[in-house]
């Protein structure tokens, strides 16, 4: 009962391109499933465009407004061009996280490759947009104006390090949360089985069982929270460069 077995990548179909292994795997399947679910849910919910929304339409609009509010509160109306990106990130991460809560389902976001790629994409957008909008004033991000000269020797290295740490913290936070939570659930579930088959002590199996029930609840919270944190931090990083004046 290896608690890490659930994270194994299983190849469903071999596919090589220019000698690189791009096989269709359980990760690919669940990533596409998440996308299909999001598109299906939003498409189905908004099919009527009713003036007075029904239940499904209310849900889609709630979802939409939730993300829109997040974007508005961090970047203002100016940053609304990033809304589709943030919406995609939030919807994808949330759906992947929640899909992982099903037994025997694969959690796409429990892999550093996926979270790392997502966070690198966010940081790339930040850097590219920052340079497009501000040119070389982008570097003012590391040197906020209005400080005594002596402080710049301290502040600038700190700012650079913190900027470079962003993609890592963004990626590792999500991946570690997902992996640790799922491993924990698996470990407690193993305890239930081990204790349950331990003869006279099998009554004790109720203890890890109850704990696991609580952990599952917690994991649902974390699944939502980490998606929210990922999207919110993306918003905040983008808001640094989408502001009219950088480094204030």
């Amino acid at each position: 009962m290896d608690p890490l077995h659930q994270f194994n990548i299983e190849r469903y179909g071999e596919f090589h391109l220019f000698g690189v292994d791009l096989s269709f795997t359980n990760s690919s399947f669940f990533a596409l499933l998440a996308v299909a679910l999001v598109v299906g849910f939003l498409g189905f919910g908004s099919r009527k465009r009713a003036l007075v929304p029904g239940r499904m339409q209310s849900l889609t609009e709630l979802f939409y407004e939730f993300v829109a509010q997040m974007v508005r509160s961090t970047m203002g109306q100016e940053g609304f061009k990033f809304f589709p990106l943030i919406f995609s990130i939030f919807a994808f991460v949330l759906t992947s996280n929640l899909l992982g809560m099903f037994p025997y389902f694969f959690t796409v976001t429990s892999h550093i490759a996926v979270t790392g790629a997502l966070s690198l994409m966010v940081i790339s957008v930040v850097v590219i947009y920052g340079f497009l909008k501000h040119g070389f004033k982008f570097f003012k991000l590391f040197a906020p104006s209005g400080l005594p000269l002596a402080l710049y020797f301290v502040i600038v290295p700190i700012e650079i390090i913190s900027f470079l740490a962003r993609p890592f913290s963004l990626a590792i936070r999500l991946f570690a949360n997902m992996m640790a939570g799922h491993a924990l659930m698996k470990v407690f579930a193993s305890f239930v089985i081990m204790l349950g088959s331990a003869g006279a002590f099998s009554v004790l199996a109720i203890l890890p069982f109850l704990t696991n029930t609580a952990v599952v609840g917690l994991e649902f919270l974390i699944a939502f929270l980490q998606a929210y944190v990922f999207a919110l931090l993306s918003c905040i990083y983008l808001s640094d460069v989408s502001a009219e004046h950088i480094g204030h």
């Binding site: 269709f24 795997t25 990760s27 690919s28 596409l32 998440a34 939409y64 996926v114």
Partner: protein
């Protein structure tokens, strides 16, 4: 002979190598599957496909649709609120006009009433005066008639008194006399007392 194989490959090896005891063990490459870099290109490749699909669907299709519905509703509500505000303003204006009309009508009514009352009073006074004058006139006429009647009555009283006196004189003193003589005597007596 006992051979250990990965779970996935155990079956095919069992076919390949009959007679051997094949034990399937879980694949333990040692460490986390997350750090198996050979799976990275595939994961990232398919993630990119999935994410681009999601982004395009949201950006081109779903966000305009959901956002459009929300915007439409907001516009509609704003329009309705505007309309309501306008209607309220209109109602307020109408109410004001109504109040003004009512006040005007009241003022006019009280003016007309006052005017009517003055006219009535005037007419009443005139008629009263006419009536009073007429009454006075007829009263004077009546008084004159009464005075005349009284004078006449007094005259008759004298005549009757004289007649009675003459009769009494005739009856008492057997003196033949007539009222005319008595009248003369009376007049003389009156003149005498008047001279006193």
């Amino acid at each position: 002979m006992i051979v250990f194989f990965d779970t996935g490959k155990a079956a095919e090896h069992a076919v390949e190598a009959p007679g051997k005891i094949v034990v399937a063990v879980e694949h333990t490459s040692g460490g986390m599957p997350q750090l198996d870099f050979s799976t990275f290109p595939s994961q990232i490749f398919w993630l990119a496909i999935a994410f681009v699909l999601l982004y395009l669907a949201l950006d081109r299709y779903l966000i305009p649709r959901i956002g459009g519905a929300i915007e439409e509703r907001k516009d509609r509500i704003a329009d309705d609120l505007d309309m309501a505000a306008r209607k309220k303003a209109e109602a307020d204006a109408a109410m004001l006009a109504y109040d003004k009309n009512l006040a005007d009508a009241r003022a006019k009514a009280s003016f007309i009433a006052a005017e009517n009352r003055a006219a009535l009073d005037e007419q009443l006074a005139k008629e009263t005066a006419t009536q009073e004058a007429e009454l006075d006139k007829s009263a004077a006429k009546a008084e004159k008639q009464i005075a005349k009647a009284r004078a006449e009555a007094m005259k008759h009283v004298e005549e009757i008194a004289l007649d009675v006196a003459a009769d009494m004189v005739t009856a008492l003193g057997n003196i033949k006399t007539d009222p005319k003589k008595l009248q003369k005597a009376l007049d003389t007596a009156r003149a005498g007392s008047a001279a006193l």
